[in-house]
């Protein structure tokens, strides 16, 4: 029972516990906070496996930027109240749980079956890379050589996302008049909705 095992055990429990807590949290803000905890726990597992740069990104981008965005939207929309936990769709919950159990069983089965097939190089190679030239430099070398084209493509993706968001959230001057067809009296003309 080394220190690493202990750390992993704690992390394991925290990650799974906070994930499960997310499922049962009735308040969206709580769920978001549990997600942050789970992400931090995941960052610890990254560290344990020598992925220092990724662990840092995980904390900064995920737990930081993205989750702030989530909380921001929750607050903006004013849904920081408790969600009703009633299920209007019959069979959705048993179906979800059943399928989830099957999925978990299958994934774990495949994992423990598959590791023998793939083989484990052990952590030594990563450790060596982290020592020389260092984790960040090594990742950078791979990212900007073999993955240069996908990297450039992500910039396009981000631009598209930004433009898309601007279009989606643009306020239309007569947005107050916009109604769903159900709300209109019979025979009333349906306005064309820009976007």
């Amino acid at each position: 029972m080394t220190l690493e095992m202990v750390v992993f055990g704690v992390t394991f429990v925290v990650a799974l516990g906070s994930s499960l807590a997310m499922v049962f949290a009735r308040n969206a803000v709580h769920a978001a906070l549990f997600l942050v905890i789970a992400q931090v726990a995941l960052a610890v597992t990254f560290l344990l496996q020598g992925a220092y740069f990724v662990a840092a990104l995980q904390i900064i981008v995920y737990a930081g930027a993205i989750m702030v965005l989530f909380l921001f939207v929750i607050m903006l929309l004013g849904v920081d109240k408790r969600d009703a936990l009633i299920e209007p769709l019959p069979a959705q919950r048993p179906l979800a749980v059943g399928l989830g159990a099957l999925l978990a069983a299958e994934v774990i089965y495949i994992v423990f079956k598959g590791i023998d097939l793939v083989g484990d190089a052990g952590g030594e190679a990563i450790t060596a890379l982290n020592r020389d030239p260092g984790n960040v430099l090594a990742v950078a070398r791979v990212l900007f050589s073999r993955y240069l084209l996908p990297f450039e493509a992500t910039s396009i993706l981000l631009v598209v996302a930004v433009v898309g968001v601007m279009v989606l959230t643009r306020r239309i001057s007569d947005v107050a008049d916009l109604q769903t067809p159900e709300d209109l009296p019979a025979g009333a003309p349906v306005k064309e909705i820009a976007v």
Binding site: L99, L102, L103, E106, Y109, I110
Partner: protein, 669 residues
Amino acid sequence: MDLSASLIPGPDYMGLTATIILWPLGTALFLLLFGKRLSTFKVGGREIPWAGVIAVLTLLRSFVAAVAMFVDIVGVELAEGAVGHGGANVENARTFTVHMFDWMQVGGFAVGADFLIDQLSVVLALVVTGVGTLIALYSIGYMHHDPRFHRYFAYLSLFASAMLMLIFGDNLLVTFVGWEGVGLCSYLLIGFWFERPAAATAAKKAFIVNRIGDFSFLLGMFLLVAAVGSLKIEDINAAASGGQISGGIATIAALLLFGGAVGKSAQIPLYVWLPDAMEGPTPASALIHAATMVTAGVYMVARMGPVFLASEGDLALTVVAWVGALTALWAALIACTEYDIKRVLAYSTVSQLGYMFLANGLGAFSGGIFHLITHAFFKALMFMGAGSVMHALANETDMRKMGGLRKVMPITGATFLLGWLAISGIVPFAGFWSKDAILAAAWEQGEYALWGIGLFTALLTAYYMSRLYLRVFEGPLKHDPDVHPHESPWTMWVPLAVLGGLSVVGGAINLPWDLRLEHFLTPVLGEFEVPHGATAWILAGVALCVAVSGIALARFLFLTQRGAELRARLVTGSWLDKLLTASRNKFKVDEVYEATIQRPGHRFAMFSAYKVDAKGIDGVVNGAGALVAWLSDGVRRLQSGYVRNYAALFLLGVVVLLSALILRVGPLG
């Protein structure tokens, strides 16, 4: 020998065949497309439409080409010694095959648009084009008032083309094209005055009854393809005479082919369409339903003679002979009481066709062809004479309203007289020779029953034809007083005169000399035995006596006072009266067919339409639609609109895929 060969120009059989067959076809198309715009011109104060002139000239052109071909063949035969010197020399006989183009090639089975020129086809082409030309000329006069004049001549030309294709066909498929073509033209011409319901019905009847025979013909062709692997007539006949077809197969094939002939040539049991076909224009009846088309069956049986001869125990030939003999007798019995002038001639045609089949059934194929030719002459003559009478009497066809017409229509009367004597079998007219040849062949083969039937039919023939002639042309005038009969124009009586002459001398083509018809046809049709010496003379004498007694009986009954009294005193209910009544009712054959075939067929059709189709088949189709709609109604509930449902299905898919991966089934395994 060399001299005669060099005198004859090299035969361009391809060109001649194309001329004979394709010119009428082209004329038919031209008249159908542009015939309406053609004008008329005047000759001797009579309007003559160009459409008729074109058709006559085309047929004349074909006739001249056929003559050229005939002269060429005769020349070659003489030069090579195939005929002459007292007999036929089969080895040296020449036939020519004209290959127009490859029609179809399926695997090893090839059919070409090929035409066979030999003695038989040339002789028949002469008859068809010659008689056809005369009838077309006659039609100009007969049809001149008809608004669909050009269409009539288009059909006539089309018919000539199809008939010639039938005759010249080198394989059964080309023959079949002509066979169906003449059937179509027959249908079109019977229903030419389709405004009249009777004509439209008769046309349909002819077409459908013919279809039964054609179906049989087709089956025969299929069987021959299966047995021989070729449709070429020469191949089939060679295989049949060479014994490559077993007797059983040959019997079935022959009987199937004969089934086609029965339909086309109006034999028992399919003869019923021909009397009704008289609804068509009379010249068309003369050409199609007397002289040429209806003899196609006789020609075909003669052409396929070896197949019939290869039949097991001569079964096929026996069937042919008996069907022919019984048809001859049956139709003659009906003809004796018929009052419609054209229908008498129609039944007479059926009867005479029966004679031809009798000849074929006896193996005397050239005898059948001989009778075919002479019959074409005198029957066409009599049909056109009847047309002339109808023309003069405002389309009257009832013989009871005719009489004494010889005085007002001398040419028609005189020519009809010739035809009457010819068909009755009076020496030396054409019919005597050909009928005598058939009866002699029957006697020689010991088929005394067939001979007896033939002889009795000859008696009936002489009787009913005399009845017709005497009723129409002799005795007092009986027509309506407001009708003024007159002699027909020259376009009508010239053909009558020509055919009258042929009816007199037509028998001469088979008089015993070197190039007589039988010898000429021997390379194609083989020989048959006829009695010689005293037997021959006695048989001819008996036939002549029978013919004379038939005429005398008719003369007694219809021209003498005592005969009229005798007819008037006929006891009602006596056996003779019953027979005559049955004959007058045509032995109710049409009624029997209607009850046994037409009505059940109609009921079956109604059942199919309103029960099987409307309920069963539509039910299945609609049921399939309803099933799909029902299923869709269930399946569409998957499309709930709830994103989380879709996500659950998504997850289900993932689970299924992983399961497949684990269980190693499907493409992932």
